[in-house]
Structure formats: C-alpha cells, structure tokens
C-alpha cells in the first residue's frame, strides 16, 4: 500500500520534472503498457493462464475506438467504452474454447487465435485500412476538452492507470482475486473448495481483455496512428517479460515491470550501440537474482524490515 502511494505521488509530480515531449512520450507509453500488463497479470499472474494472444485484444481495442471515432464520428468516450466492451466480449469468446485446453496447449491456442485476429484486422481493409495502417486518429477529448498537450494527455492516462490499478487492488482482496489465485495454485483443490473454476477463468479472460481494450483505445488516441504490424508477437513477449520481471501475481509488479521495460532501453542509450545488449542482460540478471520479480524483492525487504517489530 505504502509503495503504491509513493509511486502515485511520484507519478503525479513527474511532469514537473520532465519537460520535453520525448520523456512525456515515453511516459505515455509506459502508462498504457501498465494498463495492458496489469490486465495481462490477471490472467498470467493471478490465474496462472499463459496466453500468447493478448496483443490481439489490445489491437481490437485500438481499432474499435479508432474506427468508431474516425469513421463514424462518435465521441472518444464512446469509442473507448465500446473498445472495452467489444474486447471484453472477445476475451470471453477466447476463454470458452480455452477452458478445455490446458498448459502449453493453451499458450499455442491463444497464440493461434491471436494471430487469426491480427490477420483478420489486416484483411478487413475497408474497415481498418489493412496493412497501410489507420491514420488521423484524434487526440482524446472528453466533454469538449481535448487532451492536446503531452502533460494533459499524461494526466488522462495516469487517471486511467490509477483507476485500473485500484480496480485490481480491490479485486485482489475480494472473493474473485482469491479464487483466481486458488486456481493458479491448485485447480482441483479450488474446484473442491467450491470455486466455479470455469466461470472464474472466463471472468479472468474477460476482465483482462477489458484492460487490453481500454489500453488499446488509449494507445490509438495517444499515438494517433495504428497498424497491424505493431501488434506483433514480439510485443507479446515484451508483455510477458514485463509481468515476469515486475513480479507476477502482485498488484504493483506489472506497474514496475512495464515502467522498467519501457524506460530502461531509453535510459540505457548512453551506452550507445550496446544498449540493447545491456537491456537483455539486465532482464536475464533480474530473473537470476530476483526469481519472484522486483515486487517479490520489495515484499521480502518489507517483510525483513517488519519482522523484528
């Protein structure tokens, strides 16, 4: 809790320290990825389901909002809401076949479904402009106020992230969060304890998809251009790394992971050509020395501090 409050304070004050669009742009990306990774963590970290099709849901969210706002002239808020809903439905639809399939087979199933979705988005040229990409997406605007400057946009995204993270924090402390983790730690035992595992898995898929949808809608209006090639498998792997490095199954893990994996490669630019090498090795070192992720480290530090008292 205290860590969360500290991070929030830091996040609110951050624009006072960063002035240029470069740093704001990175901050925007980090915030969107926090939302995406937090939702992904619901599946991967909380429920223990390894999906490789999550980026396709992110894409559905981005395209839904872009199409509704640009092609049909609907307000941004409507586009975002529709993105959340439609993606949620897609998540539930993916979950239904996924119930029968377990482990690595689930990973491949979601990977294949995700690719089918991505290719379908590319194929529907009249709707999505296909491989050419979707241009001319406006900045978000709510009730007549347009988030034009980087700082305004930053606070809009931050508000969404705060709501999202609070959502997950609350969820974690409810019967749903406990049920998700119970499924992860022992599906049969959870079932025998009275947890409707099928319903919970569908819920986990659906909720994580809603997060992806909102993140996608925000992404579209932040970058103002989206194309199918962006929503590729390598992004899935980055997302996976964010949750694992941050600490799966914790509320703040994906937050820390998303920020780290977005900021670190930029921050490492001072080593010039070697920055990606150092970045990769840093990820590796994290897993070597912090198998529970960064939040795992934080938790054990907190525990150590508290124990004597």
């Amino acid at each position: 809790m205290r860590i969360g409050a500290g991070l929030l304070l830091l996040a609110v004050l951050l624009p006072l320290f960063i002035g240029n669009n470069y740093q704001l742009g990175i901050a925007h990306q980090a915030l969107i990825l926090i939302l995406l990774a937090s939702g992904y963590n619901l599946l991967l970290g909380f429920t223990g389901l390894v999906s490789f099709g999550h980026i396709a849901l992110f894409a559905i969210g981005a395209y839904t909002s872009a199409i509704l706002v640009v092609s049909y002239g609907l307000p941004f808020a409507v586009g975002l809401l529709a993105a959340a809903l439609l993606t949620g439905v897609a998540g539930v639809l993916i979950a239904i076949p996924a119930l029968r399939i377990k482990g690595h087979y689930l990973t491949l199933l979601t990977l294949a479904l995700g690719e089918v979705i991505r290719l379908a988005i590319r194929g529907m040229e009249s709707l999505t402009h296909g491989a050419a990409g979707f241009t001319g997406i406006p900045r978000p605007s709510v009730l007549g106020f347009t988030f034009r400057s980087g700082t305004e946009l930053y606070y809009l995204l931050l508000a969404c992230v705060v709501l999202g993270v609070l959502f997950i924090a609350r969820l974690e402390r409810s019967r749903f969060g406990r049920a998700f983790k119970a499924i992860r730690d022992g599906e049969t035992a959870a079932e025998v304890c009275g947890v409707d595992t099928a319903a919970m898995k569908v819920l986990a898929f659906g909720l994580s998809a809603v997060f992806a949808g909102v993140a996608g809608g925000l992404y579209a209006h932040t970058m103002r251009f989206i194309s199918p090639e962006f929503f590729s498998l390598s992004l899935t792997i980055t997302l996976l790394a964010m949750v694992l490095i941050g600490g799966r199954g914790t509320v703040l893990g994906p937050v820390v992971g998303a920020v780290l994996l977005t900021v670190l490669p930029e921050w490492l630019r001072f080593v010039k050509d070697y920055y990606l090498i150092v970045f990769g090795l840093a990820i590796w070192a994290c897993t070597m020395f912090l198998p529970q992720g960064l939040m795992g480290l934080a938790a054990s530090v907190v525990a150590r501090v508290r124990r004597p008292a």
């Binding site: 390894v50 076949p97 029968r100 399939i101 377990k102 482990g103 690595h104 087979y105 990973t107 491949l108 199933l109 990977l111 294949a112 479904l113 690719e115 089918v116 290719l119 379908a120 194929g123 498998l233 390598s234 792997i237 996976l240 790394a241 694992l244 490095i245 799966r248 050509d273 070697y274 920055y275 990606l276 090498i277 150092v278 970045f279 990769g280 090795l281 840093a282 990820i283 590796w284 070192a285 994290c286 897993t287 070597m288 198998p291």
Partner: protein
Amino acid sequence: MLQTLLQVALTGATMGCIYALVALGFTLTIAAAGVVNFAYSEWVTYGAYIGVTLVAVLGLPLWLGLLLTVMLCAVLGYGFQLVVFAPLEGKHFLTTVSATIGVALAMQAAATLIWGPYALTLPTFFGSGSLTIGGVALFPHSLLIVGMTVVLIAAMQLALTRTDIGLRLQAAAQDPVAARLMGIPIRRMRTLAYCLSAALAGLAGFMVAPLFVVTTTMGFGLMLKGFAATIVGGWGSLKGAVLGGLAVGLIEAFGAAYLSSEYKDSIAFAMIVVVLLLRPSGLFPERIAEKF
C-alpha cells in the same frame, strides 16, 4: 495438375523438414529438462552467422564449415547450460522463460554489432540450378535438406535407442529420480541435451542460410513455427515434433497454393486452432512420451 500438386508437396515438405529440425531441437530441452528456451531463435541465427563467417569470410569449404558450425553451436549450448540453465534449475518454468527472453534480446543485438546490419547469405552445396523430372523442379539444396532431416531423425532415433548414452538420456528424461537410482548423472544428461539441441539449431541455421537470407531476425519466425509444431505434435514428444513440423509446412504450402496466398497464414493458424479443439493434447498425445 499433378505436377503442381507434387511441386507443392515438395516445397511443403522442404519447409516442413526445416520446421521439424527446429522443433526437434526445441523439444529436446523440453523433454530432457522441462526447459522452454526462447533463446532458441538466436541459436538458429547464430548457427547461420557462424556458417557465413566460416565459409564466406574465412573461406573454409562448405562441408567443413557445416561441421564446425554444428560443433561451435554445441559449445554454445554447453555455455548456456553453465551460465543460464544450471543456476535456474528447479525454479518455476516461467522464470527460465524470462531469462531466455533476456538473453535472446542481448544475443540479437550483439549479432548486429558482430556481423553488421546487412543481410548475408551462404552458397549451396550444389549451385543454384535445379533439375526437372516429369515437370517437377527439384532443387538440390531442398532435397539435401529433406534427405539430411530424414537421415538425422533416423540417426537420432538409432542413437537414442541403440546406444548406451542415448538410452541413458531417455531414462533421465522419463524419470530423473529413477535414473539417479540407476547411477545416471542427470545433470550431465541435461548438458548433453542442451548441446544436442544447440547443435541441431546450428545445423538448421546453416542449412537454411542459402534459402533464407541471413539476418538477425531470421531465427524468430523459425522458432515460432517450431514452437507451433512442437505443440501441435504433442508437448515434449520428439516424434510429435517431427510430424508437427511436417504438418505445419504442408498446411502452409497447400493453403497458399490451393486456397489463397493472402490468407495462408490465417488458414494455418486456424488449422492449429481446430487441431487443438479436436485434440486438446496435440496430434500425438502419447500416453507417456513414447521413445523419448
């Protein structure tokens, strides 16, 4: 018509063999140590680059280049065991996954620095001509890949079932505890599996270099197909990996030739979805990884 069919089957089989080789190496570490190695793509890439360095830069003959590439890749696998896998033994499999993602990123970036940004290539063993039999064009290098894959799979099957070390490798994979009670050092067996896996990656990289252009990203697509083949075939089953690889290659080729090239990837992925829905444990859900 028949010619087209045969031609498509041949090209599908060639790609299928490549996927099978990749899937075989990818599966080896899964079967032997339960390790899903996302750096496998870079093993393949490095195999190709090492081949280019040896043949195109140092001017070694192709066969010698191939031999050395395979050996150097085996050494790479050994290095991985020492540095990456051994310290993570017994950890959650996702921890190993993220470690290999990190190492893969670093290796890919390093490849650009070592070998430069330009695409490279290797000559084939038999030049670039093709021979035509009954209207079907046969490309010697493709035939070599198919032949080599067949021989290799046969050799591997033999080595695993007819040699002491092969049997011990199988035993260690099937039941590590019982293997220890038979006096089999399982750590060493795992190391062997990593070396073999990397050697296969090197071989695959070298053999596809003339067909694929050698770039820093060449391994990723291949690993993905290998990953799909591994699971379509049946997790951890070598037989499944080989047949899964062939299946993926043939589906792609036939989809592109007879349905639509525009949607061939969609078709291939949709097929995977269908296969998994019908057979939730892959095509060959062997009761227990039969024959390793």
